[in-house]
């Protein structure tokens, strides 16, 4: 039986073997020690037809629950325009290689150039690379970059209000790279700028990483931080949600040297965690230390405008162990997605996305407070994500929400829970979250009446 992806007929194989001077396919492995050749049977399934594969995926798909997403924490359920998905399905983009051969890769190089421009505009930075893997790894790369820009320094500082997965990934990278790292715990839900500034006095700090919007959803006030960091001859990196940067003060406006983060919020589907899109932008003076690919404008032999991968002396295929990073493959197709998304949205669409998310989140916030079952955790300004103290036991609250098909009330430690509302959520769904919380309360009261819970339960206080 033939196979759809093998074009070889028996005659082709014979002719090719003859030319290659081999008697059989097996003889092509005569240079491999006999005991290394695998003779057994592979423990993988038998071949399936496309029909069988469709059935299998329909079955696998039915084992996932499509929930109404009221959770952010680094992955946001924003609206995805149909045209963005359609464009990344174009075979000429999808099945192309890295654009090293510029003459036949102008499509890819141009969208990378557009992407770099749009990310620079959003973050208020001078330039951007062609993408990183995801937000957390972009933060690790930003800190490695700070190390290399400031030379001999030995230590970096991270704000404890960064998302947990960002802290963890940066810690892993720095641990192996031999860099000292201190996480400065947050204060009242925000970065503790006073403590960060105190740590800077030791002058061994290469980079400081703080969030623009933090793990509690709070928009941080970074006033004065950039000056303090620069006085200590260190670099400031702001970890940002680029969708919010249409309305929130940008890393550039805060005086940051580097902007990094997760660009999934720019309409990329949640997709169980990937593929997403990390980004890394910087000020002009640091561009030669930027990791990864960068596209630049030039002219061709006939004087026509053309684009190429440039400043490649930074990269692993040229510099090997002296490269600014080991990154090779990046998330190029997702950079195309975001470029198309930003083209379609423009300044007005992105503003609307933020207005709708802001309105929905603030509506849910006040409705939940009105139930009396929650108190505001920090009372600080937020955009689409917020954190409350729950009087309801967090696990029961989450379960009540799940029973209504809602994923929300993500635990942020102790009795803290966070919610996120995007333009994809309806007023009716927001109502359902409030109902689920009230129902959870009723359920607990019923348990107390039925002696399943102690009458001392804090919910009655």
């Amino acid at each position: 039986m033939g196979f759809a992806y093998f074009p070889h007929t028996d005659e082709d194989i014979r002719a090719m073997l003859d030319k290659a001077g081999a008697v059989s396919l097996d003889s092509l492995y005569s240079d491999v020690p006999e005991d290394v050749l695998f003779k057994g049977e592979f423990d993988i399934p038998d071949a399936m037809t496309e029909m069988e594969i469709r059935r299998r995926f329909a079955d696998l798909s039915s084992k996932n629950r499509k929930l109404k997403i009221f959770c952010g924490a680094g992955a946001y359920d924003h609206y995805s325009p149909a045209a963005a998905l359609s464009m990344i399905s174009r075979p000429e983009f999808l099945t192309s290689y890295t654009p090293y051969q510029a003459e036949v890769s102008q499509g890819t190089l141009r969208y990378i150039f557009e992407f770099q421009t749009m990310m620079s505009m959003l973050t208020g930075m001078d330039c951007s690379n062609a993408s990183m893997y995801d937000g957390p790894t972009s933060a690790a790369e930003a800190m490695l970059m700070a190390m290399s820009c400031t030379r001999k320094k030995k230590r970096i500082l991270l704000s404890g209000t960064l998302l947990p997965q960002v802290l963890q990934v940066v810690e892993t990278y720095m641990g192996f790279h031999g860099v000292g790292l201190d996480v400065i715990p947050g204060k009242d839900g925000e970065s503790d700028l006073a403590s960060i500034c105190r740590e800077l006095r030791s002058e061994d700090v290469a980079g400081v990483l703080v969030p623009g919007i933090n793990r509690y959803g709070i928009i941080e006030d970074l006033s004065g931080l950039a000056d303090a960091v620069h006085d200590a001859k260190a670099l400031l990196a702001v970890y940002s949600d680029p969708s919010s940067l249409a309305v929130i003060r940008t890393p550039g406006e805060w005086g940051a040297d580097l902007a990094c983060g997760e660009a999934q919020s720019l309409g990329i589907p949640l997709n169980a965690g990937g593929p997403y899109l990390g980004f890394l932008c910087c000020r002009q003076e640091f561009v030669r230390k930027l990791p990864g690919r960068i596209a630049g404008e030039t002219v061709d032999a006939d004087g026509k405008k053309a684009y190429v991968l440039t400043l490649q002396a930074r990269e692993q295929h040229i510099r090997r162990e002296k490269a600014t990073s080991n990154i090779c493959s990046n998330q190029s197709l997702m950079a195309l997605y975001v470029t198309v998304y930003l083209s379609l949205m423009g300044p007005q669409g992105l503003r609307r996305v933020n207005d709708l998310s802001y309105g929905g989140a603030h509506s849910l916030h006040s409705r939940l407070l009105e139930t009396g079952l929650f108190t505001d955790a920090f009372g600080k300004p937020f955009l689409k994500e917020f954190t409350l103290r729950s009087r309801l036991p967090v696990d029961r609250l989450q379960k009540s929400l799940l029973d209504k098909g809602i994923f929300g009330a993500l635990s942020c430690g102790e009795d803290l829970v966070s919610f996120c509302v995007t333009e994809n959520r309806t007023e009716e769904e927001i109502e359902q979250v409030v109902d689920a919380a009230l129902f959870c309360h009723l359920d607990i009261c019923r348990d107390i009446v039925n002696d399943k819970l102690s009458p001392d339960h804090e919910i009655l206080r």
Binding site: K19, D31, V32, V36, L37, F38, F42, I44, P45, A47, E50, F57, S61, K63, N64, K66, A75, R90, P91, F93, L94, T95, Y97, T98, A102, V104, Q106, E114, Q116, A130, D134, P136, T137, T172, I219, D221, A246, L270, G273, P275, Y276, I294, T298, K304, T310, H317, E321, K322, N326, C328, S329, L333, L336, S343, G346, P347, R352, L356, Y358, G359
Partner: protein, 485 residues
Amino acid sequence: MKYYDKLIFGLSKERRIGFSLPENSWKDRADGIPANLKRSSPLDLPQVSEPDAVRHYVNLSDMNFSVDTGFYPLGSCTMKYNPRISEEVASFSGFSGIHPLQPAESMQGVLRIYSELSDWLCALTGMSAFTLNPFAGAHGELTGLMIMRKYHLSGGDTGRTRIIVPDSAHGTNPASAAVCGLEVVQVKSTGEGLIDMESLLPLLDETVAGIMMTNPNTLGLFEKDIHRIEAAVHAAGGLMYYDGANMNALLGKVRPADMGFDIMHLNLHKTFSTPHGGGGPGAGPVGVTENLKHLLPMPAIRKRDGTGEYEIAMPESSVGRISGFMGNFGMLMKAYTYILMLGKRNVRKVGPYAVLAANYVKESLKDRYRLPIPSLCKHETVFDGLAACSGDVTTLDVAKRLLDYGFHAPTIYFPLLFHQSIMIEPTETESKETLDAFIDAMKKIADEALTDPDLLKEAPHNTPVRRPDETLAATHPVLVYQHKP
């Protein structure tokens, strides 16, 4: 392919929109964000309609070469066909709306794919466990080296800070080692293109964490001394790392674990046919032997004993977290589908057909291009430039002329062992007719190099743009669009 000279910014006109969103129904809700936390600078994103945007990006795509439009003889890149069924199932709506932090019970379909794909990769490589979290090959290398370092450190062995890398290795190997805090020691190749045992043995001491190898190596040659290398490295207390970049040569024939490797990564975008996407996203799963399992990064996906349910674990013994969530899940779905399509019998032919194609091309071109190492090759073959030419025609000129004939260029000037390297990897999904057409074009170019060298020096002639001025791009970098008044 035809030239199209616009950028999206040039299509912009004030107040045009390309989105479809509801009106803001929350207008009564006053904006409570303090002024000093708001953006104050203008946002000059393009303002275009959806038809204009779609036409723009389709026109851009028309300037791209791709697997679906032609043959890529790109060495070490494994540009095989990307099945359509993989694209179809990867966009199933039952997966696209799943939040990565959802409870495990609500995404059993996701976790099952992750877990089964790990099992199948174990079966195909002989490893005991895989993490699918790494996003790309280089990310897999870094993760694998972290595992290697943590293995030594947790045994109290703090002095193993050096890693051996052959001089023929991909650039990512030494770069990943450097990010991981390891000092790179280069080991030479012999005249036959294999690791020089004489050079290797003296390097193996108590400072060595291990060795990184591709096998077959970047010359497309099988490292015949693999048993001796493995025995020597292990005897010195080091670990064996397998860079899976060239795994396509061995798929279905040889399992890295059987060659004595302890840690490895695979490039799903090479060997397992997920599309390259213009440079990514890829996926670089890392496999390890039984004694290193506990070091794999978190989160780890496990099958709960006896229940048939899958869970997400955060093992404390792990090297830590190396990705925000569970890797490029969309790519994992595509590789999963590819393995299901292949099945246990066809998978045995992937390596042999790829090797057959490479040897066929090698034997067909060796009279016209210098073949420094004439022995049997695996999935790729390396020539050292033209056998004969007039003037100073280089490998670059040959590569650029090939574009005129409708083929992508091979990998050139790599490996660094030769001055005029032309590295060709035809995969198992190319027909004999395609290979013959490529061989014909390469021979015609060899003729042209003798009769009309300028034709090559000035190539390409019929691509959307001709040779770009790379020096200008690097000396006067223009990296973002400048609004022209």
